[in-house]
Symmetry: C2
Subunit: 209 residues, 2 copies
DNA sequence: GTCTATATCTAGATAGAC
DNA sequence: GTCTATCTAGATATAGAC
């Protein structure tokens, strides 16, 4: 508030570098196998200096999750500019297919983080990754609702589950082609929706599809 | 070799207990967060004694994977007694739904293990969990082939990916209901197959499963 | 604000007594 | 064959010099 002569100019830069490095390295190596030295080295910051910007390792994990969340928000924000909700969903699948090589090597950044954090018994970060996945579900649900499809929430769950499933399989079997084939199948599924019912209401069919 | 008066009677028992405890605890806590003391305690074996049965921690992880593989083989072996391949697949999905609570808390044992091991850069165990998933894919592929459906391998990938996806989502969002709803959807999908193409012959296929 | 040196703690692994 | 005591490495975190 007082006139501080921007003493944190380079400091903020280092914090940003550490956050970006954490997001990348934690995705590649997982939380438990990654040391602070790994992140510091990737960010080109002296090891001991990390604690000036982040009090604990978990704070860095939280920062990485925020990074993923912001990245997702930016991506969906761009997709929102497309006029048709169905085209937005299909474009998202295309994005995933485009990242098939990294998915086959390291899996979905948020999904694999969720798997690892869910193993925690203490209530520290075990649900934080789930929130980011929930953010994606919410966005997808909005698209399905805008399309007038019945059960938009369940459709969104199915949609995101398909992405997580194909990412895990591509990763476990080290086959990027799984992303391509399952992605195409997912797009077909999006196209098939409402082709059956067409009209909006859908009397009383909670099962959908 | 000589007539040893079964000195390994209790020894073999302890090894079995350690393997079973490893499978359970590694599923619940993950590999990196689980200590040898955790496994020893769960197996009711003194901590230092573990090394008499397993040279390294990774040996215990491998033993847990073998346990999961054997469990899967036993399960599919029972399903193979059903006359119709489609019923076998549907019965498997029912089994998964029946385990929804543990899936929502800890995820699929093999799938979460695969996610964690895939993060390893060294070539130690990073592909071992993928082999167990491949074992499931192979079994499912046999069923689809026996049904005379085109592209049985890809169908098997889709099938297992759906399972992994719904397990991960149920786990990340802590909602067992996802297993129920997505499981029902998966069964509907199985029923819908071949409704399109009707089955092309494959009348007497000697290779079939 | 930045960084080095170091304290502390934990877990994997081993030596050797019983 | 069983178990205890201990060694050692490495990682988080801190104290304090610059």
């Amino acid at each position: 508030m007082t006139d501080s002569p921007r003493p944190r100019a380079r400091g903020a830069d280092k914090r940003r570098r550490l956050t970006a490095a954490a997001a990348r390295v934690l995705h590649e190596q997982g939380v438990e196998r990654t040391t602070l030295a790994d992140i510091a080295h990737a960010a080109d910051v002296p090891v001991g200096n990390v604690y000036y910007y982040f009090k604990t390792k978990d704070d860095l994990v939280q920062a990485a999750l925020s990074e993923h969340s912001a990245h997702l928000a930016e991506l969906t924000g761009r997709l929102d500019e497309l006029p048709d909700p169905r085209e937005r969903l299909k474009a998202l699948v295309e994005t995933w297919i485009g990242q098939r090589d990294v998915a086959a090597r390291f899996g979905c950044p948020t999904g694999t983080l969720a798997v690892e954090l869910d193993k925690r018994a203490d209530g520290t970060l075990d649900l934080e990754a789930g929130k980011v996945i929930g953010q994606l579900v919410d966005w997808a649900e909005s698209q399905f609702r805008e399309l007038g499809l019945p059960g938009p929430h369940d459709l969104a769950i199915t949609f995101v589950a398909a992405y997580q499933g194909m990412s895990l399989m591509a990763n476990a079997l080290r086959e990027p082609g799984i992303m391509t084939r399952e992605g195409a199948r997912l797009i077909d599924w999006l196209d098939s929706l409402a082709a059956t019912g067409d009209r909006v209401p859908a009397p009383a069919d909670p099962t959908g599809s």
